[in-house]
Point group: C2
């Protein structure tokens, strides 16, 4: 099936945008888009992720004219939206919608919200790592007991000259790298495909202005292929920021923690729990093979009361909370605006899912 | 009294350095200095801050040839050290020694360790601020209770586009600025003297390589004079990093916290407790005038058990621990090496105390 394409035009005349948004859309954001693209018709709905009935608020007649759709998980059937050109998702992943007929049977551009999590998750990584190094959890415990106590010889190993290894150098890892660089750290990056040229180190996906590492200039070393070479490269902090796939499932277990034993690497997981073998992680923590861990994701998740991970040595656990930001929707709207501009100029869209890659 | 000056020479021939150091000196550091300055004679002692008897280990005869001294607080009398040219302190402040006869009656260069605290204290500031924003103390509490709990609507206000106000733009404040900039924050700087020119914004004191803001390029706004204009400039985070002087004693009280009420500024104090009026701080915290505080210093200090500050709302307290770093002595030795080079070339020393300023 081939879609009827509308001609691109600088004011997007003839285009109709439906915001089927899981969050309330600020009226000033709509006004801003209208001012920027005067020809664009905009309809705004506040819908939950579970609202998947396309005809609840929008008639079949209306759908026929929709060219652009912002959505959580509601994806109309291809027959209903003959003019649709571009779907903007709210999530960084597309696995929940990529198998829908619209994307299997047409070439409608599907764009993720990749990049909107970078700042807040990088903050979580930096904050929990430094908190461990500066013994903040212990001091908070002492504060609860109203106890002022520090031994004179207690010193912090500060971050200057230390090395962070970033497993998966995407939008989150790149923002971690920017902050780590400012702290005086070295950056080692591990990527799925080798990145031997400056060109290959670039990241074309959305990055909030002035942040991240879109050019890929921060890492002093790039790794690919053999994971153990990377893990043994003298890491003080390991950041797990790869998607969960069959290839990354249980990627880190006993042998990998042993590879981290040299520097007793601190392990930070903000990706998905099952990338790490939980029992092996607990063993590595309790044996002191690694100096500690910060986990925003666990396996199982939610972590049940009584699970031994809660009380493993030197672990900081938060309930999958690192990605939530008050700026989330604002950043999704930035991606939308960026792509509306590109659409109006007939350019390739940013954050477009490469369906050959499967996500 | 005028001192007998030895001529400068590239290998420091004729110079004698005494390391009267509160920490053990790594032999490789001594070897490094000897290789760099082959003419320099070096004697190493491991002494505590309270070891103030200059003749305990070193004879009167030996002292007569000493030209360079690294010390915690032992300062010999001027008559005993007729060739002394340069004293390198272990501390960032010089108030504990500046009134000694050696510095009152001679022009021996007195240099501080200013700059060695920048990285670790900046890390403490960033870590505790982000921990507050990301609710880490609350999650650690939940972890203790083995409770996985997050309401869907709970979101973090991340740092992008927020503003940090730095009260006292010295080595600590400048490194806070570097990291805050990488987080996407705006920087407002308040300085004692106005800094209206690029030249005046520079900091000539020691900075670990690649860190801090030696050129003064990070602040988007510079303030001086009226404190309230600065406090009312839309700050999300206020970092107190001024020395305690009669002018800064009780600088922040009820009126100043009111000036912070607009954005409910988070207050971070890594300077000295008495800069803040403790009762007014507790009031501002409990009333929610400010969103929280991180305190590495308090008044009184140590904070006694039972003091209401321990249980004030949204406060993080650590026991004056932010400055300790395993890299401390290494950085003092970097300043020493830098200054030995300058001495050998007859240049002005770095971190030299301006005795007219009194500190």
């Amino acid at each position: 099936m081939t879609l009827i394409k509308l001609p691109s035009g600088s004011d997007l005349k003839g285009h109709k945008l439906v915001l089927y948004a899981p969050r309330p859309t600020p009226p000033e954001a709509v006004a801003h888009l209208k001012a920027k693209f005067p020809g664009l018709e905009i309809a705004v709905y506040h819908k939950q992720f579970f609202d998947t009935d396309p005809y609840q608020d929008i008639s079949r007649e209306e759908w026929k004219n929709v060219t652009i759709l912002v959505t959580g998980s509601m994806i109309p059937d291809p027959e209903a939206v003959p003019k649709l050109q571009y779907v903007q998702l709210f999530s960084a992943g597309a696995n929940h919608v990529v198998n829908k007929p619209l994307f299997q049977e047409t070439d409608v551009a599907l764009c993720t919200a990749n990049g909107v999590h970078g700042p807040q998750i990088a903050e979580w990584v930096i904050s929990t790592f430094l908190a461990h190094q500066h013994q903040i959890p212990r001091y908070l415990e002492q504060q609860r007991e109203e106890k002022w106590s520090r031994a004179d010889e207690e010193e912090t190993e500060d971050a200057v000259g230390r090395t962070v290894g970033i497993l998966g150098y995407g939008s989150i890892g790149r923002q971690v790298a920017r902050v780590a660089k400012a702290l005086g750290m070295n950056i080692h990056a591990f990527t799925n495909h080798p990145r031997n040229t400056p060109e290959s180190r670039r990241d074309e996906s959305y990055t909030p202005e002035g942040l991240g590492d879109p050019e890929g200039i921060f890492p002093s070393k790039w790794f690919s292929g053999d994971l153990h070479t990377f893990l043994s490269s003298g890491l003080d902090l390991l950041v797990i920021s790869v998607p969960l796939t069959p290839k990354t499932h249980h990627l880190l277990g006993r042998a990998e923690f042993q590879a981290l034993a040299g520097r007793r690497t601190f392990v930070s997981n903000i990706a998905r729990g099952p990338i790490v073998k939980t029992d092996d992680l607990i063993e590595a923590l309790d044996a002191g093979t690694i100096r500690g861990a910060a986990l925003d994701v666990t396996d199982p998740e939610p972590l049940p009361t009584g699970h031994p991970l809660w009380k493993a040595k030197n672990v900081i656990i938060t309930p999958h909370a690192s990605g939530a930001s008050t700026a989330y929707y604002e950043r999704v709207l930035k991606i939308l605006e960026l792509n509306l501009g590109r659409l109006s100029r007939g350019e390739e869209l940013t954050n477009k899912v490469d369906r050959k890659e499967g996500y």
